[in-house]
Symmetry: C3
Subunit: 330 residues, 3 copies
């Protein structure tokens, strides 16, 4: 039985297979490949694109969806082994995951990082709880560690634009925000771009380093796929010749000198037309959305010729139905 | 590409077409006219009838629905151009509308009036934001200005009962309430009845005038359709010979002498059997629901022989599937 | 027109028919018996299993579901006749139930006990409001008085395991909890087991008696079905030779000496491997879920050889589609 809670479930081979299927299906009529299938979606956190695009995948494919929002019409869930459950969590994942598995064909989960303890987030307890106790394929709709569907949509967008991603120079640029956001999206862009063979450059102010384990995983994937990964605090240097500029806000590294109040302290990191002008002449701009205009990214970039953010969001739909196919065909 | 965010999108011709289709389809088995279609519904405000009836339209027609509740499992949305988005609105309609358009075939939006600034409400910024930035047909499920599906259901009910609405005397009667409610429903009853050729009488206490622009629009529609529009503060005079009494609470005109606390100051305006007895002998009673019993309308009216409120609510289903057809056939 | 808001709607004959259908359908492919049918679900309280299993029933059967959460995107509902509706309840069941009946084929309602007044709860005003004013079959997803779908799933699980439930010794064991929970689930296990001919033993500490009317109803059903019902405060005596141990927390009898703070005062009533060892050698353990581990039931029982809690939850799906069939075939 396959799961898809992180890039390591797919590997380079699975990634290539899913991207090829997604690009192929985008050209033709919607395949009815999900007839009689039910996707169960469990949200611990809000969503717009993820929920709508997965519901569209199921409906277009001939199947259906069940959406459950934990703590909002659904009990809060416990994930700790051996817990004496006398608090506000009324049900354990040890029951919820196998029970839901009896009703649906695939179980998708969204659970954001607590964002106060990188080591704890790295263990991804809720997502791994579902993965361990579910008896059907489990799919991440973003967890504390990764957002694999986003990474797939990002790389599909780059590949559509440039034909290939082998050796493609791409920059992941840290962006300012009013909150210290989770690292799942930057992790997944980095990991997926590395697995797709890109020349990946990650640029961020000092103190916003991604976790060492993720950096190491990206380097291993790049090596396997024939690409490279580099980290820098010099944004101008990073974007030079880049074909993709990918902006994303995330919080400081745990234990770093930066608190949440410092997150807006780097206004020069807001992606502007001036920054885009330093990239390759045919460079495109991407962002996972939602984006805070004129905080993370200037209006001029989002409304300008570089932006692929709407295509990128549409590609969530395409990669997700390819990923559902990959999960169910095993 | 067609939109349906107000009566002006339909005009007298579209109105007649949608009503005729709705009345015809009500007689037979459900047409499977929405196979493979997805309706995306975005709610900024609560709903019972609207949500359930639209979901039923899609299911009965062979299609499906995606329901998103903004601020309840979905990010809050920004609508202002050029905003520096450092507040609680995490996403701009400039992204949300085109992105959702990639997943669905029709985008329906509910967004109530702020009800503190008539001029601002009249601009209908959220509904018009979706309409401007969506790339699929946009449908109003009630906005700050109009509730076109309700107006269509109201006129369908009148036409079913009396065969024709040309020259039909109908009274829109202001009703007391504990809150200063939005004006979208009275606006839409007035505008749709005018466009259907009724002799429309609007009765309300002094200080509860509808916006001048809406009054002018209603007069123009009445002229085109061969009907008339009149405004009065004398309820007895208005209901005399009326075949339809339509009760609805709404808040005071901006800048008027009446604050919210005065809204209950007119108990004589609660529709009672005594008022219905002053109308035509075959008069029917309508209300869009939800209705506060014994505040807006007496039990004796709602449970009496005049009431068509449940048929009227059923007709939401019928006019909406006809409206979806009208949007998609263009 | 049939309803299913309590065991008395089914009777012994209906119960046997539904259980037989559920067990038969579990063996084969999903029957497409709900094509073009819509289930409307109205939740006044949270749910995980109930919502997911009913949505799965409709999807697997070829139909669809509409889910409405009262007070969460849907107006609060009034149930009292003659109410002057000037509070926070914006709509009356007298409108909501007949209106929803125009959109859907079956109306399912979840409304928990207020749990402060046993006599009021016993009248089940919300569930009976829907039942009285709906014009389509009404189904309980748990009300103040009963949870018939849970009782059916429980007895299906026992019958699957032991072949027959005639004369089967089963124990309903009160369990500790941090809150005084409603009595719908224990009521329904008692009533359904009695109607299925079991030898039912109900064990609880002094002060936690079930309502006299429910006890009397259970005794009448047991007499009709050839079983028996007994009540005891001696758990060891109850579980001796029992083939089923069914744990469930519920609050004290109204007017009893026990307040909510005393609910955890009986830790020896937590079902443990030691208690299971006193039951029959082939005894199974059941619980309706959600279960608070190490408060109501020890990890060793839930993770041990006795537990059927996941099968029992799966059987919610099977009995519910049989019950939908029973409602619609009449």
């Amino acid at each position: 039985m396959r799961h898809a809670t992180g890039i390591s479930d797919l590997g380079v081979e699975g990634l290539e297979k899913v991207l090829a299927q997604a690009i192929q299906w985008k050209q033709g009529p919607h395949p009815k490949h999900l007839v009689d299938k039910i996707l169960g979606m469990v949200f611990f956190n809000p969503s717009l694109r993820t929920r709508a695009s997965f519901e569209a995948c199921m409906a277009r494919g001939g199947g259906s969806s069940i959406v459950l929002e934990v703590g909002n019409g659904v009990w809060k869930l416990e994930d700790r082994a051996g817990a004496v459950m006398d608090g506000d969590r009324a049900e354990h994942i040890r029951e919820a995951a196998p029970v839901l598995s009896r009703y649906v064909d695939v179980l998708a989960v969204r659970t954001f990082a607590g964002n106060t303890d990188d080591a704890e987030d790295h263990k991804d307890p809720v997502m791994n709880g579902f993965r361990n106790f579910a008896t059907v394929p489990t799919l991440s709709m973003e967890s504390a560690r990764e957002h694999p569907c986003q990474g797939l949509a990002d790389l599909m967008t780059a590949r559509e634009t440039f034909g290939t991603t082998k050796g493609l120079p791409v920059t992941l640029s840290w962006a300012p925000h009013i909150k210290p956001l989770p690292k799942a999206v930057p992790n997944s862009f980095l990991l997926t771009a590395a697995a797709a063979g890109c020349e990946v450059r990650v640029a961020h102010p000092k103190g916003f380093e991604l976790q060492p384990e993720v950096q190491a995983q990206a380097e291993a994937l790049a090596k396997e796929a024939g690409g490279s990964v580099a980290f820098t605090q010099d944004l101008d240097e990073a974007v030079k010749d880049s074909r993709v500029v990918y902006a994303k806000a995330w919080g400081p590294a745990t234990g770093g000198p930066l608190g949440p109040e410092a997150v807006k302290a780097f206004p020069a990191w807001m992606t502007s037309p001036e920054i885009m002008a330093k990239a390759a002449a045919d460079a495109i701009f991407m962002h996972c959305l939602p984006v805070r205009r004129n905080v993370e990214v200037a209006d001029g970039v989002l409304d300008g010729p570089w932006s692929r953010v709407v295509d990128e969001a549409e590609n969530r739909f395409h990669v997700q139905r390819a990923l559902l196919q990959w999960l169910l065909e095993a």
